[in-house]
Symmetry: C2
Amino acid sequence: MPGRTWAGTTLDDRKALRRGQLVAAGLELLGTEGSAGTSVRAVCRHAKLTERYFYESFADREELVAAVYEHVGEEARQALVDAVRDAPTPVLRAGNAVRAFVELIVDDPRKGRVLLLAPLTDPALTRRGLHLLPVFAALVGEQLSHDDETERRLVAVGLVGALSNVFIAYLDGSLKVSRERLVAHCVRLVLGADSH
Amino acid sequence: MPGRTWAGTTLDDRKALRRGQLVAAGLELLGTEGSAGTSVRAVCRHAKLTERYFYESFADREELVAAVYEHVGEEARQALVDAVRDAPTPVLRAGNAVRAFVELIVDDPRKGRVLLLAPLTDPALTRRGLHLLPVFAALVGEQLSHDDETERRLVAVGLVGALSNVFIAYLDGSLKVSRERLVAHCVRLVLGADSH
DNA sequence: AGGATCTGACAACAGTTGTAGTCAACCGAG
DNA sequence: CTCGGTTGACTACAACTGTTGTCAGATCCT
């Protein structure tokens, strides 16, 4: 009977809470130590839970890292949608979107690393073909005013790569520039990509 | 006495030869299986040598992957220098450079993956700060006609990121486009980056 | 109170990792 | 032929991995 209360909360509540702790620990590790450092044992140590509760919420290590990735991805998608909504002109949309994304990864660089780096490095994600980047690229591509389909893809892939690289360089400190300037430059990249 | 001849060659020769086999095996594994799959044992299996000879040429696993990376990096650098030399105009220089790089990674995708992906994924490279990309970006930046220093860096980093992403997408088959079109688009990216 | 359920600390398994050491077999110089 | 440098197959170790199992104790319902 899962509805029974225990230590003030129901079982399902505690189970969901533990799942949350595990995902949070996974984000922490995947966003700092990288793929190799985010093992089941390490995640449990970080979440202050035992392995038992890991397999209560996830069948695999793979499932955990997928959950972490999708969690961050959903957050980013939501931030982008919120930013674009209610912006009338393409220029304003681009500015809002870039600003939102910069805010997201500046406030929490781990999320940026998970979003941009993890799918390239972790076999659990590469094998599953779990790349949100093409999705974002397609989202960007839809906004572009190019006739040719493959031309749109080329431009979109290049644009996303340029933005990613600038973000990554900014994240690890190898690109010392003010946040405002970063945003301004990225907006110019987005707008420039449309003008052929 | 290392000058002594043995099985037709001197000791130093054989040692260098074995080192070469190890680096080649490292390139093969790092460029296909990725960082996790390139272990000391796997490299030795692939090179048909025993672990003993691994530690004859390298103190660490780390040293091996650094050697592989720098080997490929030097090759790429040389190809770029050769391509740019004797080209009078910026347009020709850009075309030659892009063509040379595309040739390099199309003829041997493993090199592309080592060059572009490995430094982001392998702790042995990230920890050592072994990124040649900023070096290439700087090289690109020198060619750009921007007054502001940080502006040059911003543009260069973005450009290199765009090129990398297009190459990576092309490499793993998610960007289906002819080689000529790939080159043409990349040239346009390079030239477009200069015009603000 | 008794009994069902939940919790957490561990142990166990077989596998892989980096790194070092052993030992018989080979090879060429004296 | 003998001696010493060279080779390769193999073992050894401790640490780690994913995953499953055990068991004493805490917590709640009846």
